[in-house]
Symmetry: C2
Subunit: 215 residues, 2 copies
């Protein structure tokens, strides 16, 4: 379990031009390589347990050389987390401003989580635990953003209830966190056994999380 480390970013060539071309489709600057490697390591060992040497080793460079590309270890974490936090905020905003009805918005949120989980394979893992290692102004910003996201999620859930699409006896708060937990943890199991397609995964989750599995 969780012993995933495809090392598509491990190579030894000297970085001459700024963007290295691995093949026609994959271009990565050293900074991107560092962030990628860090995400993978932070996910596997945690932020604190990951040393700059660990990161450097994966990138194929000495630890001190990393500082030619990044400001600090903390900055890497910050960049990674802000990136996905913004992706979620943007996705939520698009859904809110759409013309979908409340239930459709709920389903769109599930799609959003599935898409971002696949897109940000590694760094998305950080939102479940490693964000606590953010330092001051960013930590507060992150927490604020996260709270807003949850409130907007709750608001859509509430709308569903007032529309009569959710059973009146349902505790909306419990439902919210129950759903969010599943969605946050998606990354840890979404390709564990078999490989389900993005579409099928989202479809199944809509059933499990919304319609219920018991007949």
């Amino acid at each position: 379990m969780q012993d995933i480390h495809s090392d598509y970013l491990r190579f030894t060539e000297r970085a001459n031009a700024k963007p290295i071309t691995l093949n026609a489709n994959i271009e990565m600057t050293k900074k991107e390589q560092i962030k990628n490697a860090s995400a993978k390591l932070f996910r596997k060992k945690g932020f604190t347990a990951t040393s700059m040497q660990d990161i450097a080793e994966v990138v194929g460079v000495k630890a001190a050389s990393l500082y030619n590309h990044i400001g600090s270890k903390q900055e890497i974490l910050k960049d990674l987390l802000i990136n996905i936090a913004d992706a979620f905020t943007k996705g939520m905003s698009d859904i809110e401003n759409s013309t979908l009805n409340a239930i459709e918005k709920l389903e769109a949120l599930i799609d959003l989580h599935v898409d971002l989980t696949i897109k940000y394979r590694d760094s998305i893992a950080l939102i479940t635990g490693e964000w606590v290692h953010l330092e001051s102004p960013e930590l507060d910003k992150y927490k604020k953003q996260r709270n807003e996201y949850e409130e907007q999620f709750l608001s859509i859930l509430t709308q569903c209830k007032t529309d009569g699409h959710i059973h009146p006896k349902t505790d909306i708060d419990i439902a919210l966190y129950s759903i969010l937990s599943s969605l946050h943890w998606l990354y840890s199991w979404h390709n564990k056994n078999k490989n389900v397609s993005r579409i099928e995964l989202a479809k199944q989750l809509k059933v499990s999380l919304l319609r219920g599995i018991v007949v």
Copy 2:
């Protein structure tokens, strides 16, 4: 969010007799105090980011003095994790050996998670992330125990399906991890806003996770 640290184990008296009596009901040996403080800190900052000094400070002692009671930092983590892993294994075994039908077993599992989450407030948080810092023989033992637990959970789910209580189109694996994610993350939100009773919480979860919230 998650800024929970009621410090009911912070005090300054000298430990004279082995079990310190705080009041009529709460007795704790120094070792238990250390494990309690550690669980709280590991939960808040993570295993690696928590120093022996941090723990010592909460217990009210110098870091070196901790070693009069425990063998190592790693041993603390090991003790905490084995403790809850065993509790889950025991609970699962009781349920499997019961005469309940498959759906009732599923509901009993939800009760189990709710009960253990409340009972082991802090150390239960470790099962979502900090277990990766276990070292060799225990790490393998822990992973094995966890896998077995998930397989048994899956087996009950499968029984529900063959009994015709779960819609045939439902992907059992996705349902399993979706449910397990919610249950594992319970600790992080179960008393976030309002204080719901154990009974009501379990009841609501059974609806959210099994029957579905959307009508």
